[in-house]
């Protein structure tokens, strides 16, 4: 895991941090391109403003708003990357990633291997998701597990602006395709941004503790933190590992924390069944066999589509209270 940042940071929201990363990356390397629906300033610089200012500054040749055409968006990104560019393609919401799935999984992720290393696909696919705005079954899903299960593509999901900036810079410079997952409900949460690159594949200790390790990413890091605050009042010391990179995940970092605490809970917003928590939990169970003090637990979204109605939506994903209750269970 990486060392804590030492520079004097600025305060930014996630939207601003990613926007700045895109600006800085386009400035640093003329091969960096941006494409997607509404990404140009004429269309508002992205529905949430994440790409604001880019087309004005770098021109509409490098920053292209597209029709609604997800297969062609990813195809264009793949082709341009094989042709020497570094496109950052936006798929507006994560559910829509099902539309260009063939392009991502059968092509972007595989071309390097299938060509024996002759071609590479250094693209970033930005996408947004998350429950919380009552957008229902087709606009809220976390689908990181599909891509973590796919060799040849990396998956990152920052929980704070600093990592949003740093992971975006690293993702763009990475020579392989990276899926970059942004959480909508925390887009406007401010946080310090150091302007440093964050290495892909390294988790972050979001909170130090000694009794239980919680492994989380994206929004769930915040929910885990809220739970940890409550638990601290009861004398339970929680360590939170923010995965940041889901694939390849930081096995060493996670195992080190679990070895220290002896108890582990993996939390994600995606449906629990066959979610990424299973890989992490079974790896902990295997590698730390005989040393854990309690079974490795998992929390995740309900086994259903994301519901519209507020009380149902709130019940869908793990809440701080659920997390706290499971930690207490682990404490026995």
């Amino acid at each position: 895991m990486t060392e804590p940042k030492t520079m004097t940071p600025k305060t930014m929201t996630m939207v601003e941090a990613i926007n700045k990363a895109l600006h800085d990356a386009m400035e640093a390397d003329p091969k960096v391109l941006v494409l997607g629906e509404e990404v140009g300033d004429k269309e508002g610089g992205g529905v949430m403003g994440v790409t604001a200012g880019l087309s004005t500054k770098f021109g509409t040749d490098r920053v292209k708003s597209t029709p609604i055409t997800e297969q062609a968006i990813i195809g264009a990104a793949i082709g341009a990357s094989i042709g020497g560019y570094r496109p950052v393609a936006e798929i507006m919401l994560m559910n829509f990633i099902a539309v260009p799935m063939d392009m991502i999984v059968n092509h972007a992720a595989k071309l390097r291997f299938m060509s024996g290393g002759q071609t590479s696909v250094p693209i970033v696919i930005r996408t947004m998701t998350g429950t919380g705005f009552q957008t229902g079954g087709q606009h809220s899903d976390y689908l990181e597990a599909w891509f973590a299960h796919t060799a040849g593509i990396k998956v990152v999901a920052p929980s704070c602006p600093d990592d949003g900036y740093g992971l975006m810079r690293s993702a763009i410079e990475d020579n392989d395709p990276v899926l970059f997952i942004e959480n909508l409900p925390t887009y406007w949460n401010p946080g310090p941004v150091s302007g440093q690159h964050v290495p892909i594949g390294k988790a972050r200790i979001a909170r130090e503790g000694t009794d239980v390790t919680i492994v989380a990413h994206s929004l769930m890091v915040h929910r885990a933190a809220a739970a940890a605050e409550e638990l601290a009042k009861e004398g339970i010391s929680v360590e939170i590992i923010d995965l940041r990179t889901i694939s390849p995940w930081d096995k060493e970092g996670v195992l080190a924390s679990c070895a220290k605490t002896g108890r582990a809970l993996v939390v994600h917003e995606a449906v629990r069944q066959f979610g990424i928590g299973a890989e992490i939990a079974s790896t902990i169970g295997d590698e730390l066999w005989g040393t854990m003090k309690a079974p490795v637990k998992r929390l995740g979204g309900a086994f259903s589509a994301v519901p519209f109605s507020k009380p149902l939506e709130d019940a869908f994903a793990p809440q701080p209270a659920d997390i706290a209750a499971t930690v207490k269970l682990l404490m026995g």
Binding site: S65, P67, I68, E70, G136, A302, F308
Partner: protein, 327 residues
Amino acid sequence: MSNTPKPDAATLLAIWKKATLIKLNDERIIKQMMAGKLVMPYYSPRGQEIIPSALSMHLTDDDYICTIYRGIHDMLAKGFPLGELWAELAGRATGTCKGKGGPMHLTHPAKGMMVTTGIVGSSMPIATGLGWAAKLDGKNRVSVANFGDGAANIGAFHESMNMAALWKLPVIFMCQNNLYAEHTSAADSRVVDRISARADAYGMPGVTVDGNDPDEVYGATKIAIERARAGEGPTLIEAVTFRFNGHLLGEAGTYMDKQLYAECQAKDPMPILRARLLTEGIATEDDLVAVEADINGQIDVALAAAMAAPFPDPSELKRDVFAQDLA
């Protein structure tokens, strides 16, 4: 379009009534949302009222429609019960989808409203499948796929149009061209001016109509639906219109061409049709006011009932995932 069938006076009045229900309902939704009493993503169909109102003159409850997140007008025109609509928008257990679907997934098969989708383009393949079912049933049902101009650039459009034409399915591809796809203008989406011209690529008739003109929409949909019922296959209709409240309620709308907006405002179909009914002596001002009052009254009732209804129980997360409830 001069020799296409035109609605008679009674039909024109009926179209206006449906359109007015859509418009007043839209106004009430916005009012509730502005007051913070209703929270949801809302894609207002204000401006597009005529299209489904005229189309639905030719449909029965047995006919199928599929629509999109912006499809409340399609639903209301086809006869969606107001009570179950408002309860759904309010996320209540008494909503048509028990609050699970919300505005983007309104469904009411009892009246042929089979699917509302939030994924651009996806209404078309499914409506094509309903057309296949309709053809197999042999009951002269038709299936209407509603979608926007932006959706005409996505792969699902191409695949559905080709399959429906090849299999001669009774499908009406109803493209509601409101000049924008989110914040993107037509010119930034495709080179060809008329979406209806794409019908040629599938050997299917294609026609563009003024979507604000009840005569044109009524006529074109009548021809297409009769063709479909006669087993002659699908038609692509492009109905040109506008949406006045932007893509998503609350957006700034800065991307919109101001002159275009003004031009479209001058063509707002609702005041025009209302005036026409009076001019042509189809109804008196009193008649119209009475209809409007009645509709508002119905909305009052639906709204009040919705707000008084219970929210779904969290245990609903385990129901309707599969036919059999989860443990």
